[in-house]
Symmetry: C2
Subunit: 271 residues, 2 copies
Amino acid sequence: MPEIILSRRNEIIQSAIRLSGSADYRRERGLYFLEGARLCSDAACSGVAVQKLLYTERAGEKYAKYLSSVLKTAREVYLVGPQAAQALSCTKSPQGIFCVCEMPRKIQHIADLNRSGPYLALENLQDPANMGTILRTAEALGVYGVILGGSCCDIYSPKVLRASMGAVFRMPVFVEENLPSAFLGLNRRGFLTAAAVPDSDALPVTKMNFSVPCVLTVGNEGNGLTEETRKACSVQVTIPMLGRAESLNASAAAAVLIWEMMRNRAGGAGL
Amino acid sequence: MPEIILSRRNEIIQSAIRLSGSADYRRERGLYFLEGARLCSDAACSGVAVQKLLYTERAGEKYAKYLSSVLKTAREVYLVGPQAAQALSCTKSPQGIFCVCEMPRKIQHIADLNRSGPYLALENLQDPANMGTILRTAEALGVYGVILGGSCCDIYSPKVLRASMGAVFRMPVFVEENLPSAFLGLNRRGFLTAAAVPDSDALPVTKMNFSVPCVLTVGNEGNGLTEETRKACSVQVTIPMLGRAESLNASAAAAVLIWEMMRNRAGGAGL
């Protein structure tokens, strides 16, 4: 029988709330917080190290199927009362399933890229909902791994995790503060590094040849890529104008660009 | 010198707050509420009938450029105090520019379609952020008009207006409760009505010929299109599987489908 936590002042609850709200605290502890039956189950099934599982009695009945996969791997299990569950939750009607998970111990960098990709690099992407949606889109369309360049928002924030639908657990993630110098290294290794720019002088993405090792690079929502990163890329690509394509939002532009990259790579495969 | 409103209890403020929060009240009054310098200016420049403009003294200085276009067309103008502005706003730090606008008097239906499109039809789309993003994407990529089928969320809600970046003001919008019967009529008029489905038996969107009068039809976030609408469409299209494409979110899937439709129509145009 798992230990029961009723009070929202319990220190396990308080620590989980801090993990949910603070990127600094997440980094300091090497842990992050998950909410929701599907997301917790996705994490467990994807090999994420689940340090703590917390769930309400009602969730135990209602989400038994999702819970079973988490129960198998979680190192500590707690039953929580409704008040404690409400304190943990970001929603008004919590499902009542929560996990505390360990971040991967080893942070991978661009030097660790060991496949021809395709990779998606994001530079200074700030909005968690955009970040989550773009990660979900990248996974859905078959991108192999994601590179986080400059200072992106924390991919372990609850908003990113939720919008990514668990893509964060399944895709290789690489971190690189200095994209320009890392890209120069990739160019030397024969990678195509493509900078997405809203610039009619750039090569239309429909004219590209992505059937080589490649990294598609998308910049900040408002400001695009930094000058240095643009210059370090081996080619500049753009979405050819049909309507007012410059006014696509970041995640829609990323969807079109990733789609075109994958469509081009699939080439003869009957698409 | 415009009239000054200081109290949040003023009935103009109270009515604007109700317009912001209630779709029923919006329909009853034929009015909607806008917030933000850029959005209010977009509305005025797009020929929207602005019934009331409300702004703070500070906004009058900071956003003079945006304000000037609204001042030219607004029928009533009010200066509001900081407390009234805070009561009107959905954000913590309001820009301090607000409008009450009139909905178009005549609601257009599918029978009014007078161009070959391309059109985007949305059925039972519920999430305002998705709706707004999809409208923005459709406009950006050059879709001519949007058809709202079944019971979609209200396009005049503040969330849709914000996410659409004003596309609502600029695109022709058609409303049709009963899509299936309207689509049968469109088919007889020679339109291609294409149902987007997550079904590997459907025609890959990359194999379609969209260079005819056409309507691309996208369904509800969780449930897709209704059986009746799917059957009424002249063809079923799908995003061919590259990764786990069935797990694209609604707005990313719409972006890829719209992009492919427009790419195909542009055909020889050098894309």
